[in-house]
Amino acid sequence: MRLERRAHAPLHLVLLAPLAAICAALLLAAGLIAAAGVNPLGAYGEMLRGALGSRLSITEMLTRATPLIFTGLAAAVAFRAKLWNIGGEGQFFAGALITAWIGHTLAAPGWLGVPVLLLAGMAAGALLLAGPAYLRLRFGVDEVVTTLLLNFIVVLFVGLMIEGPLRDPLAFGWPQSVPVDSSFRLPDLIPRTRLHVGLLIGVAAAGLVWLVLARTVFGAETRAAGLNARAAAFAGISLPRTLMGVALLSGALAGLAGSVEVLGVTAGVTTTMSPGFGYAGIVVAMLAALHPAGVVAAAIFVATVFVGADAMSRATGVPSFIADVIVALCLLTMIVALLFTTYRVRR
């Protein structure tokens, strides 16, 4: 048996790969659910009902999908250029923190303040990734290590700030930052739910990212540099500039995730506001095969698992950590599935 490279990855396989990966991951997780003494089919039924069974649960799921769209885009943009940004979680918190901080002190009308705060969040995320990108370019430091470790530093820094200067005096001792001014809150998309216009911003961002990657000179140069750096350099493309541009875009998207989450949902920052949006963004990007449109769909799937797992846990007693297991398994099965889209098995 041997693997043979395909001339083209056929479209139907590219579309089929994530579905196959998801099925395989669910099948594997079913073993764990069964081991917990619960009928997997019933458990998955509860999961679906919990995430998609009512109007409220759907809006809750979409609320959860919103930050995943941004962090998924952040990972997709970086990975396409072979910049291994594992720091989406840190960039998320950097964006959230700066948004809460400025949003608490800023005196401006909402139409001006909201864009300012979103931009501030993007800048914070971009700057946080610019450091590791610079270290890689200048000294060849592996960005997987630097971005991953920065996540813990940023979360601890957030903890420090909300225990200290940004502590909310009205929170009765809860570790929570001061809230942003209510005029800066993103309007609800559907009244009396948590779903906010951040979802639309996310979908628009996916469209913009697609436009940048597929239609601009920057996108073309990024693709060339990611696929064959030496040929790109030979053709006169500046690799450092391209990589730094990618880092700023990727970091900005992850920072935007935190900013939108604060303005749309939490108002203030807590260290527990993210159930791993940054890390899950990596899975979202992989399931989307790094395509911006796929990111939106994959974010909805991962959000379904997250929200549904809570409901399943309440109904069946299977720990809701099963959501993390399923999402992690998806990453592994997707990598295998991608292998089969680029290679065919021959005897």
Binding site: R2, A7, H8, R215, T216, V217, F218, G219, A220, E221, R223, A224, L227, N228, R230, A231, A232, A233, F234, A235, G236, I237, S238, R347
Partner: protein, 506 residues
């Protein structure tokens, strides 16, 4: 003579593509058979069937009279067939001895048979004239030495029939000559050999018999002594191919001028005080044995390396520190040494590669957005003008053959009427038809007034194309000689660095 190997009626299809059709071939005891054909003629597929990597759709393989089961490399090895792949299959972090034993040891054995294996290796090395240090790490060996290890690996498994897939593709000419001498000695020890090639001169000098494949079919078999390069070229390509001839014409003023240019720090210079001038409408050939500074010279003139001393001007403008983009803007067309590594991005479409160097010009982008229609139209023009066969602007670039890929690169750099052309090994690995096409394009650029610097390890090519020739030896350049003074003996002396001795003596 006894037949040691017989292939009969081999047919192999990959989807719609027929790689081999009804191929019959035999090998006699103690002979060297050359399997000649253009890229894509089905040579490698045929040998992979023989060795058991692929199963044939029809036909049979007999070794020493015994039919081999299909698609079983183990059976082929056991029957005494050894294969030396074009891309070596060695583990660089292991020693020579480890590489030899890898895969031939039964897993169930507890004690390794190293001592016996070492004895056998040294014995084989001695018998076949392939000296090697069993404990050397393969990663530290030169390409020629690695190839020797590959051959030893096959012999270590008691191969009596050896197949070599394009054995000289990675070798410089002296190494290649040495290899063929070794192979000749090996036939005297009773081995029978098949080597795959598309180079006529080595087929003529090294083989006893030639089998020519074209389009998957066996079109001819000849005794080497009874054929000629011209006949073989025609059989291989299917039509008469003649390389274009350089015609004398007047050259213009100096375009690219290097004055005592050095690259690298004092004491470890890759290029040492080079001085040369390329005039408009002239091809200056740089010949030399591989590894004497050609790579650094290519990188310098591509803009990838900066000189540490000296002056480099293009049409009067200092281009020493411009970088690739600056060189392109100054009017330099650069054909890189390795088209897969530096020439194209294989996973991108043909059209994207066609405009990659000039994406930021107003023709191909506006306000940061790529003008896709203009890019594709330009690519379509290149496809038509440079005769890139079977391709459209949308074709994935890595699917192009070597010749078509090189034509794409020529189209990319020559369509803007450059002032200066760097052609670094422009025909390496190409077949006869493509070589003729590349030569014709370079000569056309010369006629149009471009100053061309040709770096080549193929002497015939350098002599045929160049108006003047300089030799590069250990990072230094000889004085130029005119093409009419360039006989093989003089060039050989220049490439050995003999001009330097004269300079010191006088």
């Amino acid at each position: 003579m006894t037949k040691v190997l017989e292939l009969e009626g081999i047919t192999k299809r990959f989807g719609a593509l027929t790689a081999n059709e009804d191929v019959t071939l035999s090998l006699h005891q103690g002979e060297i058979l050359a399997l000649l054909g253009e890229n894509g003629a089905g040579k490698t597929t045929l040998m992979n069937i023989l060795f058991g990597h692929y199963a044939a759709d029809a036909g049979s393989v007999r070794v020493f009279g015994q039919e081999l089961p299909p698609a079983t490399p183990r059976a082929a090895i056991a029957a005494g067939v050894g294969m030396v792949h074009q891309h070596f299959t060695l583990a660089g972090n292991l020693t020579v001895l480890d590489n030899l034993m890898l895969g031939s040891e039964p897993l169930t054995r507890l004690r390794s048979a190293r001592i016996a294996a070492r004895r056998k290796l040294l014995q084989i090395a001695d018998r076949f004239g392939l000296p090697v240090d069993p404990d050397a790490r393969v990663g530290r060996l030169s390409v020629g030495e690695r190839q020797r290890v590959e051959i030893l690996k096959a012999l270590h498994r008691d191969a009596r029939i050896l197949i070599l897939d394009e054995p000289t593709a990675v070798l410089a000419r002296p190494e290649a000559q040495r290899l063929f001498e070794t192979l000749r000695d090996m036939t005297r020890e009773g081995l029978s050999l098949i080597f795959i090639s598309h180079k006529l001169h080595e087929v003529m000098s090294a083989s006893d018999r030639v089998a020519v494949l074209r389009g998957g079919r066996m079109v001819a078999e000849r005794a080497t002594a009874e054929t000629s390069p011209a006949e073989l070229a025609e059989l291989m390509v299917g039509r008469r191919v003649e390389r274009p001839v350089r015609e004398a014409h007047r050259t213009g003023g100096p375009v690219l001028v290097a004055e005592r240019v050095s690259v690298g720090p004092q004491g470890a210079r890759a290029l040492d005080e080079l001085s040369f001038t390329v005039q408009a409408g002239e091809i200056l050939g740089i010949v030399g044995v591989s590894g004497n500074g050609q790579a650094a010279l290519g990188a310098l003139l591509s803009g990838l390396m900066q000189p540490s001393a000296g002056r480099l001007t293009l049409a009067g403008e200092n281009v020493a520190a411009l970088g690739p983009r600056g060189m392109i803007r100054a009017g330099a067309a650069r054909i890189p040494e390795d088209r897969h590594v530096e020439g194209v991005v294989g996973e991108l479409g043909l059209w994207e590669n066609a405009v990659l160097e000039r994406l930021r010009t107003p023709t191909f982008s506006r306000m940061g957005f790529v003008r896709r229609a203009a890019c594709k139209a330009h690519a379509a023009e290149i496809v038509a003008r440079f005769d890139i066969r079977g391709a459209t602007p949308e074709t994935r670039t890595r699917l192009l053959s070597g010749g078509n890929m090189q034509k794409l690169i020529l189209g990319r750099v020559l369509s803007s009427n450059p002032r200066f052309v760097l052609a670094n090994q422009p025909t390496r690995g190409l077949d006869e038809g493509a070589i003729a096409a590349v030569h014709a394009e370079l000569l056309a650029a010369r006629t149009a007034g471009a100053a061309i610097l040709l770096i080549s390890e193929e002497l015939e090519e350098a002599v045929a194309l160049s108006d003047r020739i300089q030799a590069i030896v250990k990072g230094r350049l000889s004085e130029p000689i005119g093409a009419d003074e360039a006989d093989p003996q003089r060039l050989g002396l220049m490439m050995a660095g003999v001009w330097e001795a004269q300079a010191h003596a006088s």
